[in-house]
Structure formats: C-alpha cells, structure tokens
Symmetry: C2
Subunit: 200 residues, 2 copies
C-alpha cells in the first residue's frame, strides 16, 4: 500500500514535470512559429518587390524647362536622391534579414525546436530591422511628398507633373515598405506573445 | 490531528504558489524594471526637449532674393514643412507614451508587481511607438538633408545658408529624436529579456 502510494506520487510528479515544458514549449508555441513563418514569407515578398520596383524606377522625358525656355530630355532615377538610396539599402538589408530568419523559422518548424532563446534573438533583430525599415519608409515618403506637392515656402518645385511614371514607381515602393514595417511589428507581437505564453 | 494536517497542507500549498511567482517575478525581473524606469525617464527627457527645440525653431532674416533681385524679410518656421509637423506629432505622442509608461513602471517598482502580462503589453506599445518615432525621425532627417545640401537634379535649393539658426534647431531636434528611437529599441530589449528570463 505504501509502495503503491509512492509509485502513484512518483507518477504524479513525472506527469507534472512533463506537463510544464509541454505547456510552455509544446503545441501552442509551434503553431505560433507557423504564423511567424507565414509573416516572414510575406516580409520577404514585400521587400523583394519594393526593391525591384525602386531599382526599375527610371524615366526619360522630353520636357519644357521654364528657366532656359527650351525643351530638354530630362531623366529621373532613384539614385538622384540620397533618401531613396537609403531606402534601397534598408530594403536590401530587410530582404537579407527576412530570408535568413525565414530559413531559421522553417528549420525550427521541421525540427519542432522552438526555444525561448531563439524567440528572444528573433525579437531583438526584428526590433532593430523595424527601426531601420520605418525610418527608411519615412525618409522616402518625405522626399516623395515634396516631389508630389512641392514646397512653396522654400521654392522646392513639384516634379511628379513631369515624371508621372517615376513617381508612381516610387510611391509603390514606399507603400510596400510601409507594409514591410507593419509586418515587422506583427512579427514582434507574435514573438513576444510566444514568450509571454511560455512565462506563465 | 486531521485539522493540523489540513492546516499544514494548506500552508505548504500557499508557500508553493507564492514561490512560483517569486521565482518568475522576484529579484531579477524587478531589477530590470529599475532599468526600464531609468530608460523611460531618459525617453521622456528626450521627447520633451526635442519637442521644445522643434517648436521654438523660428528664424526671421533679411536676405537677398536672387529671382526678384531685392532684399526681403524671410521667415522660417517648422510648420512650413508637413514632414516637420509629422515629427512634432510623433514627438508629442512619444512624450505622452513615455510619461504614461513611466508612471506604470514606477507603480510596478513600488508595488513589486511585475507581471508577464504587463511586460508583454509594454513591449507591444514600445514596438508601435518605435515604428512611429523612427519613421518621423527619417521624415524630418530627409527634409533637413535637402535643406542642408539641396538637390541639384530637381533644383531644390539649400536653405541652411540663409537660415543657419533654424537649421541648427531642426538638426538638434532630429538628433534627439534619433536618441529617442534608440531608447525605444533598448526598452524592447529589456522587456523581451525579462520575458525570456521568466520563460526558463
């Protein structure tokens, strides 16, 4: 009777210690890693498409130059503006970051080895990437806004009347960069929610 | 005897449930909340000072206008640029956010009640605030860069030669906004590290 009690209590103890890691690192966190993988796939698609649209945004146009009173062949390229070069750099880093973390996420799902340390590291790199991506989106949007509306106070003339296609390309690249920033916030929410669920 | 046993087991159960949160939310997490409080204090100081510098950045100057070939009294204000108005709005929101979370952090330290749920919520709001603050810093920096260097490709003339004091104020506000963004990244690192330590 005494040995049976001991065996029972031993069994109960084993079940208890097994259930703790299962509750923390089992089914629920792995399902979050599927969400993580899906979001990273979207992030990769967003950064690659924004990068391609930005790089291909060139326009040549025969336009009237009011100051010289002649028609001239004008050319608009993204690398005429340092702000858009910064956006390109940020998108390239974002592309590399999303690809690398996509592979890590895939390996974690296959091996079912979602550790808290990995979640913490992913969260830190996602936060750094969010800082870079959000600032680059802001930088590009500020220049695009001046190009679209101009600023009469400092006599910065609008250029989107002349370079309509160029401006559409730049605006698309910035819109997709904004989506990438939102996806990075979503990834931070998913990672921190996984850590929060494990901490109970 | 039976009642004594019941009392003993009750006492043991109480000790056990108390030790679990102490292990999770005891000495180590509380010390992180001191770091959290200090960083939020810095964040509040940074956003308030950047806000004050930005709002007071006005300059009147008698300058030569080449196109009109006359001297004129020119005025530079931050609200001539939509990008700087966005920076102002972001700094105001950041100021409110840092003050609110500073109070929450202080209450948590006083009551020693650092819960995982609070850390998770602080992390989410810090991530959202980082997105807003980083994008506003980028927006302001892009406009300030054009003001400082100009852009010969689209004939946007530099204005910092004329409005030197105005440009110094704007540059200071942007530099402090960048510091605020870095502080928000640091706050995310501290909160996620606290959650990571609790998840073991």
């Amino acid at each position: 009777m005494a040995s049976s009690d001991a065996a029972d209590s031993g069994k109960a103890a084993t079940t208890d210690t097994e259930s703790a890691p299962r509750r923390g690192g089992g089914a629920a966190p792995v399902s979050y890693f599927h969400v993580d993988f899906f979001l990273r796939l979207l992030l990769f698609a967003a950064t690659v498409s924004a990068l391609v649209v930005l790089v291909t945004s060139k326009q040549n146009k025969l336009a009237f130059v009011p100051t010289l009173r002649v028609f001239a062949r004008l050319r608009a390229k993204f690398n005429d503006s340092p702000a858009l070069i910064y956006l390109l750099a940020a998108l390239a880093v974002g592309c590399f970051h999303s690809l690398l973390t996509l592979i890590i996420s895939a390996i974690t799902i296959v091996k079912s080895a979602a550790s808290a340390k990995l979640l913490f590291h992913l969260l830190i790199f996602d936060a750094l990437m969010l800082g870079v991506m959000a600032s680059a989106t802001g930088t590009g949007a500020a220049v695009a806004y001046i190009g679209f509306r101009g600023n009469s106070h400092v006599r910065w003339n609008k250029i989107c009347g002349t370079f309509d296609m160029f401006c559409r390309y730049i605006a698309s690249a910035i819109a997709v960069s904004l989506v990438a920033s939102v996806l990075l916030v979503a990834l931070i929410v998913v990672s921190s929610y996984s850590l929060y669920r494990r901490s109970r």
